[in-house]
């Protein structure tokens, strides 16, 4: 076969081969160039245009989605023009390359860059110096930012304490409520409706949820009609109205009024996962337990819980990670005032409000270190799957 194709190629005149080669190269260069130019025009239009928003939105959607599809099509076309062996070699990278490049640019490399920035003072590494000059420059502080992060008298201590409260109370109650609702709904005729309504807050943004709960906590001085549900309830029982999340007298327990919001949002998530896991328990197992005389509580703790242990662990870790990174609720509700700062709000405040990128980056690295056990567990699970 190779011999045959070789002779056929030799038969073509040199001129025709050069011509076809040049036209291929020209085509290969011009198609992406034209495509990039059109995409660039779209970008400029989106950046500078004064057109009505509806039109801009439409162009943005068509341009963004269509642009990516066109790029894949072009690169695939280019690689398929090559010889078969090169196509086989290169095509996987056309498919997998963009995803890997974006992941590297947005998550993998920034982790290293953030660590590097965290070794410097508030302005980060100065420009135009080589690595030796950087390390010996005045702005290099080594692990100084980390010392400050863990300084027992520093401002991060409160954030760590609050985040611990978030993790402990947030995850425990989200899991507990999710499990209780899943078990109850499983035995009820209103299962579908009940689950939909409990699940509904999942669709609400943290900003929206903050407004919803701010309205519940709304405070009016005593004597005025309370329009917030909680204060109306408390004054109805003869208590004094409070601005609950801002009630510093009971700090750090005022954090619980913020944590409730996340429990309200996340219980639906754990409920759905537990509900599916509970339905996976074989009926004979439960029946056998009942015949042996176990009551419902024993069945719950001795059969159901051990059976759904895997789901329990994964839901728990998911919510722990989630509460570890909690930001929006605190930022919108209190802005971190009244003793409610958490790690992510301090990260934002230090990095962007105070423009102290060294210290902010050190906080981000602490967040990363906190999730490493989970990352390790995921990788272990993955390695145990022989399928890949």
């Amino acid at each position: 076969m190779e011999l045959l194709s070789g002779t056929r190629e030799q038969k073509q005149s040199l001129g025709a081969r050069i011509l076809s080669f040049i036209s291929r190269v020209l085509l290969a260069i011009s198609i992406p160039l034209i495509a990039f130019y059109i995409l660039y025009l779209g970008f400029i239009f989106l950046r500078d245009s004064q057109a009505p928003r509806g039109i801009i939105a439409l162009v943005a959607i068509v341009w963004g989605v269509g642009g990516v599809a066109i790029l894949y099509w072009i690169f695939n076309d280019l690689v398929e023009r090559l010889s078969d062996s090169w196509t086989t070699r290169l095509l996987p990278f056309v498919f997998v390359g963009p995803a890997m490049a974006i992941l590297a640019w947005y998550l993998a490399i920034p982790a290293l860059r953030t660590f590097w920035i965290s070794l410097f003072d508030r302005d980060g590494p100065p420009d135009g110096l080589n690595i030796l000059q950087l390390i010996t420059s005045d702005s290099f502080v080594g692990l100084g930012n980390y010392v400050e992060v863990f300084n027992p008298g520093g401002l991060m201590l409160q954030a760590f304490r609050n985040n611990l409260m978030w993790i402990v109370f947030g995850s425990t109650f989200s899991v507990a409520f999710g499990l209780i609702i899943a078990v109850l709904a499983d035995r009820s005729r209103m299962e579908k409706v009940a689950k939909s309504l409990i699940f509904l807050p999942m669709a609400i943004s943290f900003v929206g949820a903050s407004i919803i709960w701010n309205f519940i906590y709304e405070y009016r001085p005593a004597g005025q009609p309370q329009v917030g549900l909680l204060n109306a309830f408390v004054t109805g029982l003869g208590g004094a109205p409070q601005a609950w999340p801002q009630w510093v007298d009971i700090a750090p327990w005022n954090n619980l009024f913020l944590i409730v919001i996340v429990i309200w949002l996340q219980a639906g998530f754990s409920m759905v996962l537990f509900s599916a896991a509970l339905k996976g328990i074989p009926g004979e197992l439960l029946e056998a337990g009942r015949i042996d005389g176990a009551n419902e509580f024993q069945i719950f703790f001795r059969i159901m819980i051990p059976y759904i242990q895997g789901t329990l662990i994964s839901v728990w870790t998911t919510i722990v990670i989630f509460t570890l990174k909690i930001f929006d609720v605190v930022w919108v509700m209190t802005g971190g005032q009244f003793g409610t700062h958490v790690i992510a709000t301090q990260f934002y405040r230090q990095s962007f409000t105070n423009q102290n990128s060294g210290f902010g980056s050190a906080i981000a690295i602490v967040l990363l270190i906190a999730v490493i056990p989970v990352m390790y567990y995921n990788l272990k699970q993955f390695r145990e799957q022989e399928a890949f």
């Binding site: 996987p92 920034p110 953030t114 943290f206 929206g208 967040l367």
Partner: protein, 367 residues
């Protein structure tokens, strides 16, 4: 037998009762916002939203003219056979026949009302809050020291469109890119395949905070900050690991012989991917799409950082957070605004709940 039945009934009563209570507790917060968004500005400020339920309230039956009755607010007065001072009447004095006499307003210009407690509902519903929130007029705002500020109206329509132009590409782009990558991981052989996939798994839980400062620097260098492209790419980057992981799980489980017969017929990888794999993966694509759409629509932090410098491109969440900050007491705007911001995610959620649940069940943790 009889006691067994009774126990069963009690059990079901307990189950349904507890469930009902929990559902009630979970629904009340949203219900409060929903009801309030249709109430008058003044009603929201003076009475709780639950006053739409039947309740007893004092309502005037008769007015007494102060000068005609010859009342002197500075001394002890006698009204309707009850005597009391101005302060006492101001707080309201109840008569033995179940009525109440209340002085409304100040001493000179006030009036006296005879009130009766009646069952009533507070049903003055209006759509004004929504028109005000969606419209874009300027809004005058007087501070306590008397200075007047003009703040732009709550242009939620603009913010809504901005959110849409951010959320749709930020959902479709990562799905497309992840689907290509997932296909390559599942059906192609190339050096580094295993190592790259391990990277994807490791990145599943990396907190996005880690990336914000370096990416912001890159964006400033590239003059991308405050553009749609910037935020699409950011959401793509932060959602891609989970998307690739989920889609790989699905695509790798598709039956091998369908693909093999396509290759024997001479189809290229690109054709197989677009003609065969994408249509077959619609359930997985849909469930991730809902996930990502809700995440992007509801996101606040990423928008705050990468679009924060450009007020023109403000998203719904930013708009809402700004209203909370500037006019946190204007509940008629906040409640209506909150509902406008929730309407699309709720529609997506209820319309596609089945896919969403399926995605959750297949899902993992997002960084």
């Amino acid at each position: 037998m009889e006691s067994g039945k009774k126990q069963k009934l009690l059990g079901s009563l307990f189950v349904n009762g507890t469930l009902l209570l929990l559902v009630f507790l979970w629904t009340i917060p949203t219900l409060g916002i929903f009801v309030s968004s249709f109430r008058n500005r003044d009603d929201i400020a003076t009475s709780g939203w639950w006053s739409i339920l039947p309740h007893r309230e004092w309502q005037p039956v008769r007015e007494i003219d102060i000068s005609q009755a010859g009342l002197d607010p500075n001394g002890v007065m006698e009204i309707e056979g009850i005597s009391g001072t101005f302060e006492e009447f101001r707080a309201g004095v109840e008569t033995p026949n179940g009525k109440r006499i209340t002085w409304i307003g100040n001493k000179r210009l006030g009036k006296v009302e005879v009130q009766e407690e009646v069952w009533t509902v507070n049903w003055n519903f209006t759509l004004d809050n929504y028109t005000q929130v969606l419209g874009g007029q300027d809004f005058e705002f007087t501070k306590s020291d008397g200075t007047v500020y003009v703040v732009p109206g709550d242009n939620m329509t603009g913010a809504f469109l901005n959110s849409l132009s951010v959320a749709v590409p930020s959902t479709v782009i990562p799905i497309l890119i992840a689907a290509f990558a997932a296909y390559a991981f599942a059906w192609m052989n190339f050096p580094g395949r295993r190592e790259l996939f391990i990277m994807v798994v490791a990145l599943l839980v990396v907190p996005l905070q880690i990336a914000l400062v370096p990416i912001l620097r890159d964006y400033k260098a590239l003059e991308l900050n405050g553009t749609f492209l910037a935020i699409w790419l950011a959401h793509t980057g932060f959602g891609l690991a989970l998307a690739t992981y989920l889609l790989y799980n699905y695509i790798s489980s598709l039956p091998r012989d369908i693909l093999e017969s396509a290759f024997i017929d001479g189809a290229s990888h690109f054709t197989v991917f677009t003609r065969l794999i994408l249509p077959l993966s619609v359930p997985a694509l849909a469930s991730f799409a809902i996930f990502q759409f809700l995440w992007v629509w509801n996101d606040y932090l990423v928008a705050l950082i990468f679009l924060g410098g450009n007020p023109e491109f403000e998203l719904v969440t930013q708009r809402m957070a700004a209203i909370v900050g500037a006019r946190g007491q204007d509940w008629h705007l906040l409640t209506a605004g909150a509902f406008v911001s929730m309407i699309l995610p709720l529609a997506v959620f209820f319309g596609l709940q089945r896919y969403f649940v399926r995605g959750l069940l297949a899902g993992s943790v997002k960084g």
